[in-house]
Amino acid sequence: MTISGVALLAICTLLGGLLGDLLGVALGVRANVGGVGIAMMFLIAARLWLVRHKLLSHGLKTGVEFWGSFYIPIVVAMAAQQNVVAAAKGGPIVIIAGAGAVAVCFAMVALIGKLSGRVETMDEIEAREALEASVPHFKSGRVA
């Protein structure tokens, strides 16, 4: 049933929100502490459990995935209702923070790549696989 997926999603979201609020109270801040992230972990755990017990039906999947696919349109609606007139005064922040974050992250991709040594490139992998496929192998005693 589709509703079981929607209900599962709703229960995870509510539980996450509740725990986030409780965490906020416990830590003495008036905020929802990581509620969405906690809800996502509940949903991942629920999915694992359902797969393991072979209870992941098509309807249930449809119910959750519909809302997942609705995520970009909802973000567009969210963007359309912000106080952009007031935000426009802070304009340069957007450009400096956005471009800065990308530049630093590009540099770190290069750095991590250098530090962790050379690996096969995509071209080399494909060349090797093509070579392996063309050479017959006799592993299990039969001609492949």
């Binding site: 830590l27 801040v29 963007a79 912000q82 957007v94 990308v102 992250c105």
Partner: protein
């Protein structure tokens, strides 16, 4: 004319679905014909959304963008915190833990850095521009992580709408640069193997930015980058309104 606006206003949420759908069609067409697929339709749609909110704000003098127009109040419900959190949580359903193991330690390191480093940078830039309160600093910092982590964090800790709008715009701008810039720097940063693609996905985060950028570089790398990038938003939504917020609060003192 009054009949039309009555129907639109009486079915506000349905009107919002139609309006956003039309906006997405237009964005898809712009992406395809004006940018030749370089910039993902979703990023264009979000930018158009922000632009419309700007003109809506000027037209109505209100604080809620186009949602202040009587016919478009449904946008407020559709893009409000309730449905937004619901849809974001739903995306976690596509996360496959078995795949996550494939990314391994290096993917996890990249994810951690990809959350913390842009956050610190965003907080610094916000501080330079005169923001001093922990809530605004954290929200703008979270926007530098992704355009989802920003508003989710802002809503959770109670930031003002202009600050949330700034954080969304920062995240979208980041995604757009990733989409356009990746093919140009790919060679320089060694983006030619699955492992560096996974590191790239974890560091950059935004799935639309990563998949768009990698597709323009080398189509075969897309699944590896998307693999780590899918965890990025979840991790950000978890740590930004909690650990990172507390860290900022501890430094600013309130």
């Amino acid at each position: 004319m009054t009949m039309i606006s009555h129907v639109l206003a009486a079915n506000s949420l349905i009107t919002a679905f139609a309006a956003v759908g039309i906006l997405m069609w237009i964005s898809g067409a712009i992406s395809k014909y004006l940018t030749f697929g370089r910039i993902h339709g979703s990023a264009i749609a979000i930018m158009l959304g922000l632009l419309l909110a700007f003109f809506g704000g000027i037209a109505t003098g209100g604080e809620k963008g186009v949602a202040d127009l009587p016919a478009l109040t449904g946008i407020g419900l559709m893009g409000g915190a309730m449905l937004r959190d619901f849809a974001i949580v739903a995306t976690a359903f596509e996360v496959d833990v078995v795949h996550a193991r494939k990314a391994g330690l290096i993917g996890a390191v990249a994810l951690g850095l990809g959350t913390v480093v842009p956050f610190i940078l965003g907080v610094f830039v916000a501080a330079v521009f005169g923001y001093t309160d922990a809530i605004s600093l954290t929200t703008i910092g979270a926007g530098a992580v992704t355009y989802i982590v920003g508003p989710v964090t802002g809503a959770a800790i109670g930031a003002s709408s202009p600050v949330i709008a700034l954080s969304i715009a920062t995240g979208v701008f980041k995604a757009v640069i990733v989409m356009i810039g990746t093919p140009f720097v790919a060679k320089m940063i060694g983006l030619n193997n699955p492992r560096s693609a996974m590191v790239f996905g974890g560091l950059m985060g935004t799935v639309s930015g990563v998949s768009g950028g990698l597709a323009a570089t080398d189509r075969r790398l897309v699944p590896y980058g998307a693999l780590t990038a899918t965890f990025h938003t979840g991790l950000g939504c978890l740590v930004a309104p909690s650990i990172l917020y507390f860290a900022v609060r501890a430094i600013t003192g309130g």
